[in-house]
């Protein structure tokens, strides 16, 4: 995203949580350093206990809240996924490619979920899906930085239709296609039960090539 676009978009909950987290970290560090310098050998005096209360008690509680929110929210961003360059860059490149007709690129170009396109299609609905995505992401980051991943990436399990239906179920264009519908005009049972995968008809999800050594290439 260009700096100019970032500037007019500034002000989201993520932006504020990052700013507050940075401010709290600086405050805590400054108070600790100040108490060590100004109250040398008097770390248990009544006056310095107030500084400790702020640096070790109150501010850390706020840091926990804002910091965790910032990390969890930032982990949903496309740029976070793209930081694993060796594995994810080809997927991100395809998503950003103007001429690509992959599902990822089309969703991205339609600004379906600005800034969080990867997360929007790869995290299940609800808090359960969020937690599962975070845990899975944690494992992926660990594997990436320890070099224990296999070159040809694969989904941990078949892509579930519920990931598509969480948004498309009820959408006019989706519901206008008879092939999507079952008895009574609701979503087809075949789709709900994953008997027929959405990506069987709407492939490819990502337009990438697999090289001879098993690595993905854009």
């Amino acid at each position: 995203m260009s700096p100019a676009r970032e500037a007019y978009r500034w002000g989201s909950a993520l932006d504020w949580s990052i700013v507050l987290t940075v401010a709290l970290c600086i405050l805590i560090l400054a108070l600790i350093v100040a108490s060590r310098i100004l109250f040398r050998r008097r770390q248990t005096d009544g006056t310095v206990l107030w500084l400790h209360l702020l640096a070790l008690g109150i501010f850390p509680l706020f840091l926990l809240a804002f910091g965790n929110f910032a990390v969890l929210e930032y982990a949903t961003q496309e740029q976070f996924c793209a930081t694993c360059h060796r594995t994810m860059q080809v997927y991100v490149n395809d998503m950003l490619a103007v001429r690509s007709t992959s599902l990822a690129a089309r969703h991205f170009q339609d600004r379906f979920s600005p800034g969080t396109s990867c997360y929007a299609c790869h995290a299940d609905y609800g808090i359960h899906g969020t937690l599962e995505a975070k845990l899975s992401g944690l494992k992926d980051v660990f594997k990436y930085y320890t070099g224990t991943y296999r070159p040809q990436l694969h989904m941990p399990r078949p892509y579930s239709n519920t990931l598509c239906l969480k948004c498309h179920d009820g959408a006019r264009r989706f519901m206008a296609e008879d092939v999507h519908l079952g008895v009574g005009g609701t979503v087809s049972g075949e789709l709900v039960s994953n008997e027929t995968a959405c990506i069987e008809c709407h492939k490819p999800a990502h337009r990438i090539k697999i090289t001879a050594n098993g690595r993905a290439a854009g």
């Binding site: 987290t21 940075v22 600086i26 005096d45 850390p60 509680l61 910091g67 944690l138």
Partner: protein, 192 residues
């Protein structure tokens, strides 16, 4: 500087060490969080999430220190030539009472001509600092260490509790204070 600081840290009383550990734990989390947020490095961000338990360690240690700090003696250590408190000091920190555990300190007062003179020496078992507390006045003298010194520091509330609850202790202190006032003024006159 470093070799000198570490042994002093190791010899300090447990409350000071607890504060230091709490500060290191909390400071480490804050530092990782700060670097993570500024660099947006996934490893630092996940590390920040992973080490947040240390904030709880810091909080628990702080609560322990806050509970016990005002109730008991605190052992403090000074190098030779350090000032424990200054003549004229006011405020809460100027109301603590000290008992010498080891070493020797000198009592220094300002003479009418503005110079400073040592009027007394205090050693193991001697106490100082109670006059400012009992008279609700600024410190009447400066206390400077002559050797490496260990002192027990008693909080004002703790001292007051002893002073009011133990008549013998009160009488002993009153007598010593009277002797000191007379002796100090005599010595100050002589030295000026």
């Amino acid at each position: 500087m470093r070799w000198k600081t570490v042994p002093a840290f190791m010899r300090g009383d447990w409350r000071s060490r607890a504060v230091a550990v709490a500060q290191v734990a909390t400071g480490f989390v804050a530092l990782v969080g700060l670097l993570g947020m500024l660099t947006r490095n996934p490893l630092l961000l996940l590390g920040f999430s992973a080490v947040q338990g240390l904030l709880l360690v810091g909080l628990v240690l702080f609560i322990l220190v806050a509970i016990f700090a005002q109730r008991t003696f605190v052992l403090e250590e000074y190098d030779p030539g350090e000032v424990i408190f200054q003549e004229g000091d006011t405020g809460e920190l100027a109301r603590y009472v000290y008992v010498v555990k080891s070493g020797e300190v000198e009592v220094i007062v300002r003479t009418p001509d503005g110079s400073h003179t040592a009027i007394n020496r205090l050693t193991v078992g001697d106490h100082f600092g109670e006059m400012a507390l009992l008279r609700h006045a600024p410190r009447s003298a400066t206390i400077r260490t002559l050797t490496a010194v260990e002192v027990f520091k008693m909080s004002p509330s703790n001292f007051t509790a002893l002073y009011t609850a133990l008549p013998g202790f009160r009488q002993h202190l009153t007598r010593i204070m009277e002797e000191r006032v007379v002796g100090d003024s005599t010595r100050a006159r002589r030295s000026s």
